[in-house]
Each structure stands twice: as C-alpha cells, then as structure tokens.
C-alpha cells in the first residue's frame, strides 16, 4: 500500500518520459491526476491509521550489509507524507500555464514526489540516504532547467553544498552501522538498540557527522547560504517544493534518526542544538528584515522557522527538563514542519504569481498591489500572517507549542533560549508587515500597473494550502492526535 503511494508518481514519470510527444494538456492532466490519486491514497491511509508503525513493508535489498527495503509510517511521517502529497498536487495545478518543456518538467516533479514520499516513509538508513541524495539531484535539474536569473550557478552551488552535506550524513550512517550489534542499517532495529551506547566519544563524532549533514539540508545557521540563491532563481513550484518539503528532510532526520538512535550523545550535546536553533531563529529573522528582494526574504524566514524546530528538538533532549514539556516541544516541531510546508509553499507560489507578472521581486519597485489585484493581496496577507504566527492559522499552533514546551522544560538555559527565540516572532511580524506596506498597500509603485489578478489555476494552487493552514489553526486536534503519541515516543527514546 505504502509502496504504491511512494512509487505511483515514479511510474507515471516513466510513462511520461517514454511517451512520444504528449500534448501539454495531456501532460498536465496526467500530472494532476496522478498527484491527486496519490494524495487521496495518503488521506485514505490517514483515515485508517491507528497508531504505531503502520503499512510496514520489509523486503531484502542488500542483505550483505544489513540494508533492506523497509518502509512504514507513524505519527512523525504521516503528516509529512500528507503535506508532501498536497504540496506536489498544488504545484501541479499551479504549473498548468506557461511552463516550458512541460513533459520533462512534469516527469521530473513526479519523480521528485516519489523521492520525497520515499524519504519520509523509509525505515532503513541506506534507503533514506538514497532518497536524500536523489532529492538533491532532482532539485538540481529543476533549478538548472527551469530557473531564471543566474540559475545554472545557483543550481550548481545548491548541488555541491547539499551534496557535501549528504556525504557527511553518509559518514554518520556508516558510523551508526559500524556501531550496531548486530550490524544493520535498519532504523527500527537501531532505534531499539541504540548503537555506540558504550562509546561516547565515537557517538559524539557520529552525531556530529549526522547533524552536519542534516543541518545543511535544514538549513541551520551557518550552513544556510546555499538557500537564498537556490530559491531566488528556482521556478515557483521548485521553490515551494524545496522550502516546503525538502527542508523538512533535515529536521525530520533529527527526530527520526539522530534523537532516537544516539540518545546519549543527543542529551550531552542538546545545548548545542538549542544554541544553534536560537541563533538560527534570530539570525534568519534579522537577515530577512534587511532584504529588499521578496523571494530572498521569504527564503530567510525559512531559516528562522527551521531555527524554531532545531531549538525545540534540542530542548527536548535536556535531561533535566520536564518530559511533558519536551513532548510539547517535539509535537510543536513536527507541527511546524507541516505548517511551514503549507505556508511557505503558499508564499513561494504567490511570489511566483508576482514573477509571472512583473519579472521582479524588488519591494522598492512595487506598491499598492491591493488596488489592482485584491484577491492576490488578500491571500498574500493571509499567508504572511500565517507565517508570522497569527493564532487561527497553523503557524501559531506550532510555535506556541515550541515556545511553551522549550520554556516549560524549566531549566534556566532553556527559559533564556525560549525567551530569546520568541523575539523572532516579533521580527517576522515587522518584516511581513513591511512587505505588505511596501508592496501591497499604500500608493501604487513603478511596476504595479503590470500586476494582474490571480488566475483560477493559481487560486486553485494557493487556496488549498492556506485553507489547510486555517483548519489546522482552528481545529488542530486531528493533526495533533497523530503527532502527539509519536512525539511522546521520541522523547521517551531520547531520554533513555
């Protein structure tokens, strides 16, 4: 079942690839139909999910190194799978018009969907790593092939940087493998018997390798500099997937691999993650505040939002902390991954609308867009408020849990860290209101006459994301009921 969900888009991608000269309409129809079918399957899986690891499949793959094809879903991965499927569907809908070479583009995105879904479903380190690396390759081609501006250079930078990160990750994985008894790459086995429990020095090195690998992908300060150029020059749908889904691979790796498999080392170095998280949250927000390029600004807010996640998972590792608060923090971190996927996905699709009209992201040349495109302005305002954590939208549900959980752990350092990080909420508020002020409200700017209202296809792409954010913001229980047991499990695993 799960394997069908994961590989259905790849099969469709292969079909599109061998299909001789399909018309753009046929391509679009196939792309949307397959993505929609995949989303429906994930929803169906969600409705039948009853806790624990479900839809598990194990098959022999490379038995000589203890690596198998092992997939399954639990409360950590299910929300991310659903968010991924939704985001790929709306990207398909949003890319209906004006895409060059639609066939290969659709095939590439479908293949990427398989890669992203596969990563969140993977329960084997090697399988995880393969998907992790393939996502980099796929995104490289998206940026290089369909980007704008200095896209070849940005794509190359993105590829080299994140590939280097993934090599660090591989090193860490090999360390985990070598430390396990019996040797295995299987995540459930490694979680059950954490490797290197008796070798703290080696465990610290392995954690370093894994954490650097994941931090590059997240991206955590100071490994984030590949992100702004990659985003600025990527097509809108590519940015949405890159920020919405692929950044989560890093943070997901923390809760799925680093915390449960290296609990001792995680506890010892939890402070490092808390510090990196706080610095990232504030640094990302401040640098975003200084941007005049709308897309770079949104990209830096990702550094801020992922900083909260790193802070939360770090605080959950504090031994002295209250376990319930730790669970709240981890639950908030996972909620933030989903929320950020939806909201930043929407924001990037909206900047794509802007690019489509004016071929510029310069806030100084815009203004008063609300007069020409009220719906566009309204949706951007909703997305901005969701991103700055307004209650009633998903960002607040995530961030409140993170702050309350981090501060609630009760250790003085965590209280200080939480109190510092919460300032990020204020800076993001200032920067998004500044965007609304400069680009969307006030008197019209130089480029404003060229802005036109959103088309039905664009609306159909952005609205579901914001609607999902609103539903989570108002009625979060259906999501938290899935996440919370998994968060509890992670905290109990990391405090072993």
């Amino acid at each position: 079942m799960l394997s069908v969900v994961v590989f259905l888009p790849l099969v469709a991608a292969a079909a599109l690839a061998v299909w001789r000269r399909p018309g753009p309409r046929a391509v679009a129809r196939t792309w949307i139909a397959v993505s929609a079918a995949d989303l429906l399957l994930v929803v169906w899986m969600w409705t039948r999910y009853r806790g624990g690891i479900a839809y598990e499949t194990r098959a022999r793959w490379i038995p000589s190194v203890g690596a198998g094809y092992h997939v399954g879903v639990d409360g950590l991965s299910l929300p991310l799978l659903a968010m991924t499927a939704l985001l790929f569907l709306v990207c398909a809908v949003g890319s209906l018009r004006g895409t060059r070479r639609a066939g290969p583009y659709a095939a590439l995105f479908l293949a990427l969907e398989t890669v992203c879904l596969g990563l969140f479903a993977a329960l084997d380190l090697l399988l995880f790593f393969v998907f992790f690396d393939l996502s980099i390759v796929g995104m490289y081609f998206v940026i290089a092939g369909w980007g704008h501006g200095d896209h070849l250079r940005s794509a190359l930078r993105f590829f080299l940087y994140t590939f280097l990160g993934s090599l660090a990750l591989l090193l860490g994985f090999i360390g985990l493998y070598l430390g396990s008894r019996p040797r295995t790459f299987d995540m459930t086995d490694l979680t059950r018997n954490p490797p290197l429990a008796d070798a703290p020095g080696t465990a610290a090195l392995v954690l370093l390798a894994v954490a650097v690998g994941l931090a590059v992908k997240t991206p955590s300060f100071p490994f984030h500099t590949w992100l702004p150029p990659a985003h600025t020059d990527a097509p809108a749908a590519g940015s949405a997937i890159l920020a919405g889904v692929m950044l989560k691979m890093g943070t997901y790796g923390f809760v799925r691999i680093a915390m449960p498999m290296l609990p001792g080392a995680w506890q010892r170095y939890a402070w490092v993650f808390v510090a990196v998280g706080v610095v990232g949250a504030l640094y990302g927000a401040l640098v975003a505040l200084a941007q005049d390029d709308l897309k770079r600004l949104v990209a830096y807010t990702s550094v801020n939002h992922m900083g909260y996640v790193v802070l939360a998972v770090g605080a959950a590792g504090l031994v002295a902390g209250d376990a319930r608060a730790g669970e709240l923090a981890v639950s908030g971190a996972v909620t933030q991954m989903v929320s950020h996927g939806l909201v930043t996905g929407a924001l990037f699709l909206l900047t794509g609308v802007l690019w489509d009209r004016v071929h510029d992201y310069d806030l100084g040349r815009l203004g008063g867009i609300a007069g020409r495109a009220p719906v566009f302005a309204g949706l951007t305002a909703v997305a901005a408020f969701a991103s700055l954590g307004l209650p009633g939208l998903s960002g607040f549900i995530a961030e409140f849990q993170i702050f309350a959980g981090v501060i609630g752990t009760g250790s003085p350092g965590a209280v200080a860290a939480g109190a510092l990080a919460v300032i990020g909420v204020l800076i993001t508020a200032a920067l998004f209101l500044r965007v609304l002020h400069r680009a969307f409200l006030g008197p019209p700017g130089e480029l404003t006459p060229r802005v036109t209202e959103m088309r039905p296809g664009e609306l159909a792409a952005v609205t579901p994301l914001l609607a999902a954010s609103l539903v989570i913001g108002l009625f979060p229980r259906w999501l938290l009921d899935v996440i919370e047991p998994a968060a509890t499990a992670v905290v109990s695993l990391v405090s072993r």
């Binding site: 490379i62 690396d133 409140f400 209280v415 209101l433």
Partner: protein, 614 residues
C-alpha cells in the same frame, strides 16, 4: 447541561464566524453588510446577557494535556455585556458613517468583537493569547482600513508591532506557567512557585501594558487614530486597550502574590494617568486629546489592579467604555459633518449640532469626573483603596484626576464655546454639514449610561457589585474622597475655562515616546539586520566561495606537481588532490549526472569495503 455550555463557544464564534464570512465576500457583501452586522451584534448582545445569567463553561482539548476553556464568571459576565453593548452602539454609528468597502469594514469589526469576547472569557493562557493576538491583527487591519494612504498603513504597522512586542510577554508567561504549575490556567498562576510566579507576572504585565497603551507603549494609540472613527470608538472603549486592564484585573491575585508586580502595575498606571493626562491637555486635535485621555483613564484601571481594587477598577472600565465610546462618536460625527477635529476650529460645533453637543457635553463632564456623573464615582472607588495603600501613590493619582478634569473640560468648553474667528470648517476633509439618524441614534443611550453608571457607588449597590465580581473587601467610594475629587474636578474645570494653554512640545508630541522607541529599538534592530545581511553575503557565503576557490587552486597545483613528475609519494598525494579537484571541477561543466554516478560507485565500493571488513 450541554446546551448552556455551548453558549460559551457561541458567544465569540457568532460574531467571529459572521465577521470572517463577511470580510471575504468582497464588494458583493457591501450592501447587506451593515444590516447583517447589526443583526449579528444584537444577537451577540442577547447571547451575552444569557451567558451572564447562565454562566456557561465549555472546554476542548487543545494540546496534549492542555485544554482550552471558555467560561463566564462574574468579571467575564460584566465584560461580555459591556463589549457587546458598546459594539452594537458603535456599529449602529458606523452604519451611518462608513460608506466604502462596508463588507470588509463590518466583517473586521465583528472579528474584532469576537476576539475580545474570547479574550474576556478565556480561562487559560493559550486561548487568551490566541484571542489576544487576533484582536491585535484586527486592529492592524482596521487602523489601516484606508490602505491606499501609506501613512495610515505605517500607523497600523506601528500599532501592531508595538502591541505584539508586549504580547511576547504572554508567550513567556505561558511557558513559565507550564514549568511552574503544569497547566496554563489563569486561576492557578498565583500558586506557582518562585521564580515561575515572578516570570509569569512579568510576562503578563508586559503584555497588558502593551495592549493598554500604558507607559512606555502609549505612542501606538496616537497612531491608532489613523483608522476610521468607529474603530477608535470601539478600540478605545471596550476592546484592545480595555483588554490589558481586564487581564490585570483578572490576574490581580497573581500580582498581589508576587508583591513587586502589584506595586509596579500601580505605579505605571498612576504615572500613565498623570503623564498622559498632561499629554491630553496639551493636544490641539480632539481625537488626539481623547486618545491620550484613554491611556490616562486606563491608567486608573491598571492602578486599581495594582492596589487590589478589582471592583472599583472594573466599574471604572465599564463606565469609561460608555463615556469614551460616546465622546469618539461625537468627535467622529463632527469630523464627518464639519470636516475638522481641531479643537479651536470646532468652536461652536456643539451649538450647530445640538444632539451631538449635548451628549458629548455629558460625556466630557463625566470624563472630567464632575459630580454626580459616572467616572466621578468609579474613579473614587479606585482612589479610596489607593489612599489606604500609599500616600505617594494617592497624591499622584489625585494629580492625575485633576488633569483629567482639566483636559475633559477643555474639550467640552471648546465645542460649547460660541463660534469665533478660530472656527473653520473643512480643513481636513469636506464635511457633509449633517449628522445622520444612524450616527446620532446610539448617542443618547450611551450618554444616559455615562451619566448614571455612578449608581454603582451607592454602598448597597457596591456590595452587590463586589459579590457579583467575587472580589475581596475594598472600601468603595467614600464621602470624604468623593468630596475631595469632586472639588478638584470643579476647580480644574474652572481653571482651564477660557484660558489658552501654552503646551510644551514634549507633551504635544506624546513625550516623544515613539521617537524614543524608534531610536532605542527600531533603528538598532534594522542596523543590526543590515549588518548581519552583509555578514551573511560577505563572510559566511564568502567563506563558502573561498573554500571552493581554494580547492580549485589546490587542484591546479597538484596537477602541475603531478605533471612534472616528482617522487612517488608526492605523486600519490597530488593524484588524490587532483581527483578531488577534478571532482569539484566536473560539475562546473554542468555534467552533474557523471558526478553523481561516481558517488554511487564510491558508495558501492564503500559497501563492499564494509562487507569485507566485517
């Protein structure tokens, strides 16, 4: 009874949901918006009255082990009725005043009211914070209602960012409450152990001061005048600024338990009442005068929370809501009719529009604290407790009361004085020369409440009032205090009569609070942001670029070394470096798939090595 308890949800949800619906209908909803909004607000008022009687309580799971609960107790009962009644009056007024983008306007106003209703019924920090911040966002949208004007948008931004700076305190308080008590219940905060109790109190006081525009946050309220008058009428009376005072009255046991927080709140309240009272006296613009007076009057409520005069503070909140609502409606009506809100230019305004003039006059006299009107009594209900606590505080509060009488009398005299050379029309916009039926309709009932709400001070009534709020013993208004403050009010009113005041610039400019905040906080933050952005581009990213350049250079050297053919060891080393260089150069030709294939090969080799090693 589940039916009754559902009322707790329905009360904020009805205006909230209808408001949300209305604000997304766009132009299509403009025609029906006023009628729909009035019907919804009337229904909300009915719900509020029912809730005040039935006292519903309902909760739902929010986060793991943390429930979100809305409940109506005595304090909430008073607040929900006040909020919905004032909202109804304001929306009737707005139906006659607002003629553009009505669906958006009335939708946002309903959302604003819904958020306030949720704020005053929330029993825990999580739902409180949610409603609290939504209220802030709605105030942003309403202050920036005329969004084509960049200055108004800027004012809205300043207001939202400033109040949100205070809101951070609530995030901190929530985390510390969780650490200290394991729950987020407001009622349990006073019992939290130290240091959590202190941290929670610090957070809540900060948030309340921000929302209530107390020192040093007061400047945002001056900015908030950029919105339409009905927004001011609501924001200054029963929502937003009232929310901060309400919260402090609600958590008064916590403030008292810490000791220092109560003293701090009392002093900030008293100083705001004094200093912003002076600011109000110095304003030339009627709306700015009213805005500063709001800060000053809310200061008395904050002071009340600080000295544990909850019954007196709540009475002052309710009476002030009626008075300030009335005054803003009057100011707004004249602004529409005469096109000005300058105090000198408004000379004679009250005689030209008698209904507005009389009701505004009643409001101004009440605001002045003249006997026997409402604020005279309610303010003294606070002052009598202050007198018991601290002489210094009492002197400051009396001075503030004197100033209140002075600024209110100044406004009253300005509009009631006969037309003279200073009188001018249409200096700000072109006036309609008439006050519509709808705009005038809510003024008499509000004036009635503003006049007679002082009845709460009658000892029997005050005892019942205290029982309703469930507060501890407090003296209530006393003969001597009433006499003193009444005499002070009359003296102050006579003192400003017919006198031209030379206002110092500091006071006219709101103590330069905004300039100070910009210089001390905003500019350093933006400079830091720009510096970090440069650091990010040059240093961090520069390091990455540097590494890649260095590797390329290194690769070039090694290749040369390799080609000249030195000894074997060097050649081996160089070959390794060259391969590394080649690896990094290859992708630069665009052939990434090759590179990836190599990595895959390496991966397989690694796997093989591992197998062999094992």
């Amino acid at each position: 009874m589940p039916g009754v308890n559902a009322l707790a949800w329905a009360l904020p949800a009805l205006p909230g949901a209808c408001g949300a619906l209305l604000s997304v209908t766009g132009r299509r909803g403009d025609r029906v918006a006023p009628a729909a909004a009035l019907a919804v607000t009337a229904a909300t008022l009915a719900l509020a009255v029912t809730a005040a009687v039935t006292r519903p309580r309902a909760s739902v799971a929010l986060f793991a082990g943390l429930r979100a609960e809305l409940a109506v107790d005595g304090l909430s009962a008073v607040l929900v009725i006040t909020v919905s009644a004032v909202a109804l009056a304001v929306l009737v007024f707005a139906a006659g005043e607002i003629h553009e983008a009505r669906a958006r306007f009335f939708g946002l106003m309903l959302l604003f009211v819904g958020a306030m209703l949720a704020t005053v019924t929330a029993t825990g920090l999580a739902p409180l914070l949610m409603a609290w911040e939504v209220m802030g966002a709605m105030s942003y949208a309403l202050i920036g209602f005329w969004w084509r004007d960049g200055d108004r948008v800027r004012s809205a931004t300043v207001a939202f960012v400033t109040t949100r700076a205070g809101d951070l305190g609530l995030y901190l308080a929530a985390g510390c409450a969780l650490a200290g008590t394991g729950t987020l219940d407001l009622a349990g905060l006073a019992a939290a152990p130290r240091p959590w109790r202190d941290l929670v109190a610090a957070g809540i006081v900060t948030a309340a001061l921000g929302k209530s525009a107390q020192l040093p946050f007061s400047f945002w309220l001056s900015r908030a005048m950029a919105g339409p008058t009905p927004v001011s009428a609501l924001l200054h009376s029963a929502t937003m600024v009232a929310a901060g005072a309400y919260l402090l009255l609600r958590v008064q046991p916590l403030l008292a338990a810490t000791g220092w927080a109560a003293t701090l709140a009392a002093w900030i309240g008293a100083l705001t009442a004094l200093l912003l009272g002076a600011v109000a006296l110095a304003q030339r613009d009627l709306k700015q005068l009213l805005a500063a007076s709001t800060c000053a009057q809310v200061g008395f409520m904050v002071l009340a929370a600080g000295v544990s005069a909850v019954a007196g503070g709540t009475a002052h909140l309710v009476a002030h809501a009626a008075v300030k609502n009335l005054l803003f409606m009057g100011a707004g009506a004249w602004l529409s009719a005469l096109g000005t809100k300058d105090l000198a230019e408004l000379h004679g305004a009250a005689r030209r529009h008698r209904l507005v003039g009389v009701t505004f006059g009643v409001g101004a006299l009440a605001l002045a604290g003249l006997p026997p009107l409402s604020l005279w009594v309610t303010k003294d209900a606070v002052l009598s407790t202050v007198a018991e606590r601290s002489a210094a505080l009492h002197v400051v509060a009396l001075a503030a009361a004197f100033l209140a009488a002075a600024y209110a009398a100044r406004a009253g005299f300005a509009v009631w004085s006969p037309r003279d050379d200073a009188t001018r029309d249409d200096t700000e916009r072109s006036g309609t020369r008439r006050v519509g039926l709808l705009a005038g309709l809510p003024m008499p009932p509000m004036a009635f409440v503003a006049a007679v709400a002082g009845v709460v001070g009658v000892p029997v009534v005050f005892t019942a009032w205290r029982a309703l709020l469930g507060t501890g013993p407090e003296p209530g208004p006393e003969g001597g205090g009433l006499l003193l403050s009444g005499a002070l009010a009359v003296a102050a009113a006579l003192a400003v009569r017919g006198r031209r005041l030379a206002a110092p610039r500091t006071l006219a400019g709101w103590l330069y609070l905004e300039r100070g905040a910009v210089a001390v906080v905003w500019r350093p933050v933006t400079s830091l942001a720009r510096a970090l952005a440069r650091f990010d581009d040059r240093v961090l990213d520069g390091a990455v670029r540097g590494v890649s350049r260095a590797v390329t250079v290194l690769a070039g050297w090694s290749r040369r070394g390799d080609e000249t053919g030195v000894d074997g060891a060097v050649r081996g080393l160089a070959a390794g470096a060259a391969r590394l260089g080649a690896l990094l150069r290859r992708p630069q030709t665009g052939q990434v798939h090759t590179y990836f294939a190599q990595a895959a090969v390496v991966l397989v080799l690694l796997a093989l090595v591992i197998v062999l090693v094992r």
